[in-house]
């Protein structure tokens, strides 16, 4: 059975070009970049190249790029550093829809005496900047807001938010793990202090990420060890991973237009047709301010895990915000924060596309989804009642 992979916000396939670039650095060019011999030194040269490629993708300077092990490490390093370098300030502002890498860290920090404010979002998943402004206090050390939401794809106005934070002298970090490579990002034109990105969301391998630290921003390292990354992140470099990520960043820059035309067109087609063919379904999240690859659709009166497993039988991969798939007993915190009703939240499916998806794949999903939803609705005790009440209206 052919796999149709529409779960690219979870992880992506490694691009062939990326793998090819990486392979020599396992068995042939395996030197340590810190070594004095040229066998290691040549790897160091390749890492410099990767740093330039990554910097170019986001409009940064190479020295503003720190390689890490993943997005979670980048988020942790950024927020902890902000608190370490401003030891007199004890207040953090995030949003209610942040990734666990930020949210769980902050609830952990709240047990250590920090005050955490979680900004609410509206029904479209957007934050109110006026509210952010009101929450900033002289005690606020850092604001951390995600650029693109992993579940809904909703984009926060992080550049404007960073300006507001700066007016009050507060540091600003953004988790841009989902946004990098999908929308144009130019760090030269905004005041964001720190930005996290993850390799495996843009066709690089798992186990490598980046923390952008703006030149002049005080930084206190999270991993203390050797002098690697200009003493901002100790530990021998994941050479093959970093070199692969550099190549992936270069490819992402070239594919950016395709993401916003071809991928967007396929996403829009999938969304439009599913809403048309399946009654009582709706899109979660702001339609305008959204990543081009993500569609989060709720199918009322059915449960997400059951939908996913029936899709799985056809080789279609996606995600759900239902309780049974969230690892807890409640539906996704993102959908709850947006006030999505329970009847809808449990039956939410996230489709996330990449440049590797084809029209034929999207057509196949459009063909199969109505049958899957109908099959589960036939089994649902709420469906018939709901149908009847609709007829009455």
């Amino acid at each position: 059975m052919k796999t149709i992979y529409l779960d690219n916000n979870a992880t992506t396939r490694v691009a062939d070009e990326v793998l090819e670039t990486m392979l020599p650095y396992f068995t042939q060019l395996y030197g340590n970049p810190s070594s004095m011999h040229s066998f290691g030194g040549q790897v160091g040269q390749k890492i410099r190249e990767a740093r330039e490629q990554a910097a170019a993708l986001i409009g940064a300077a190479p020295e503003e790029i720190v390689f890490t092990s993943c997005g979670t490490e980048s988020d942790n390093a950024a927020i902890r550093s902000a608190l370490q370098t401003r030891p007199d300030k004890k207040h953090i502002i995030i949003s209610r829809v942040e990734h666990p890498a930020v949210r769980a860290l902050c609830s952990h920090l709240s047990l250590q005496g920090y005050k955490v404010t979680e900004l609410p979002v509206d029904r479209n998943g957007l934050v109110d900047l006026e509210n952010l402004e009101n929450q900033l206090t002289p005690d606020t050390a850092v604001v951390s807001l995600m650029w693109g939401n992993n579940e809904t794809g909703v984009l926060f106005p992080v550049e404007a938010a960073a300006r507001l934070a700066h007016e009050k002298g507060v540091l600003f970090h953004t988790d841009a793990v989902q946004a990098v490579g999908k929308i144009p990002i130019n760090m030269a034109n905004n005041p964001i202090d720190m930005l996290s990105l993850s390799g495996h969301k843009l066709h690089a391998p798992k186990g490598v990420g980046i923390l952008f630290i703006r030149r002049g921003t005080k930084f206190s390292p999270y991993l203390i060890g050797g002098h690697q990354e200009h003493e901002r992140r100790g530990g021998t470099e994941n050479t093959a991973g970093i070199i692969g990520l550099g190549r992936a960043c270069e490819l992402a820059g070239r594919n950016l237009e395709k993401e916003n035309t071809e991928v967007r067109r396929l996403r829009d087609k999938l969304e439009r047709e599913l809403l048309k063919k399946i009654p009582q379904s709706r899109v979660n999240g702001d339609i305008e301010n959204r990543l081009p690859n993500t569609a989060n659709i709720s199918f009322e009166y059915v449960e997400g895990e059951a939908i996913l497993l029936l899709m799985n039988e056809l080789g279609i991969c996606a995600s759900s915000g239902s309780a049974c798939t969230s690892g807890s007993l409640q539906p996704s915190h993102v959908l709850r924060a947006m006030g999505v009703p329970f009847t809808m939240a449990h039956g939410s499916i996230r489709f996330s596309l990449s440049v590797y998806n084809t029209e034929a794949e999207v057509d196949f999903v459009i063909e199969k989804m109505p049958g899957i939803i109908e099959r589960l609705r036939e089994m649902s005790p709420f469906w018939k009642q709901a149908g009847q009440s609709c007829n009455v209206q």
Partner: protein, 275 residues
């Protein structure tokens, strides 16, 4: 991805007895959309007061659908008394086991069964006397938690969440659940039955069958005879309606054996022999 058994997957992909019986003898709806799973169970009895048909409609995940499907298969052919002896553990066992985090799906099935039988008997489903809501997120009472702890021998707050959902939301009730766990653990265990001599045991088995089991079987036109008792093995032969009933084996396991385990010794097994 959940580690579901093949049986769970099979019952999810090919659920048995989906639907609703018109004019059912017993009906129940448990769970809610807010909680993430809900089950509507209906059953019909035949002239011998056996469940001749059982149907379900379920909103929920794969294991909720599979548990409902299993439940309807398990209760067909049983009297309501026999059906009530099915525990949530039996439902999970029937499916080859459920992941710990999904045990609440089997509990949902058990609750639906009990409520449908109450409905059949015309008992008003009154809230348990003195029950207090412990988990606000999922509306779980102290009585429900205590019962799940006793019936499934639960040890931790996480266990309680897996079986009842209590504590699976905001987490504010974890302390209260821990206190209930301590209270139930401190209860004196039912006294281990004094060791019986063989003669006492045989007499007790005969008495139990005569007093507790036979009247119920005879109501349905059935009967059984004790052929032999070897250690803890009770060999019986079915008579009357039981001899020709294809659900007799379930009756023996779920009703006769269950009752003997309860009244005589947990080590008792019942086997059918043809004589």
């Amino acid at each position: 991805m959940w580690d579901y058994t093949d049986k769970v997957k099979e019952h999810f992909l090919n659920p048995r007895n989906v639907g609703e019986i018109e004019n059912p003898d017993g009906v129940a709806e448990v769970g809610s959309m807010a909680c993430g799973d809900a089950l509507k169970l209906t059953f019909k009895l035949d002239e011998n007061k056996r469940i001749t048909d059982a149907r379900f409609k379920t909103f929920g995940c794969a294991s909720a659908i599979a548990s409902s499907s299993a439940l309807t298969e398990m209760i067909k052919g049983l009297t309501v008394d026999e059906a009530l002896t099915i525990t949530n553990q039996d439902i999970a066992k029937y499916l080859g086991g459920l992941p710990d985090e999904k045990m609440h799906c089997s509990v949902l099935g058990k609750q639906a069964l009990e409520k449908a039988v109450e409905n059949y008997r015309g008992v008003l489903p009154a809230p348990e006397a003195g029950a207090r809501i412990i988990c606000e997120c999922f509306g779980v009472t102290d009585k429900e938690i205590e019962r799940a702890i006793r019936e499934n021998n639960l040890a931790t707050v996480e266990d309680v969440t897996n079986y009842t959902k209590a504590g699976g939301g905001c987490g504010n009730c974890h302390e209260a659940i821990a206190q209930i766990l301590e209270r139930v653990k401190a209860e004196p265990k039912t006294q281990a039955a004094p060791r019986l001599t063989n003669l006492q045991k045989i007499r007790l088995i005969e008495e139990t069958i005569e007093r507790e089991i036979r009247p119920s079987l005879r109501k349905d036109g059935g009967d059984l005879d004790i052929i032999d008792i070897i250690g803890n093995r009770v060999l019986v032969a079915t008579r009357g309606a039981c001899a020709t009933c294809k659900a007799a084996n379930i009756t023996l396991k779920h009703f006769v054996e269950h009752r003997l385990k309860e009244m005589v010794s947990p080590d008792i097994t019942v086997e059918e022999v043809s004589q």
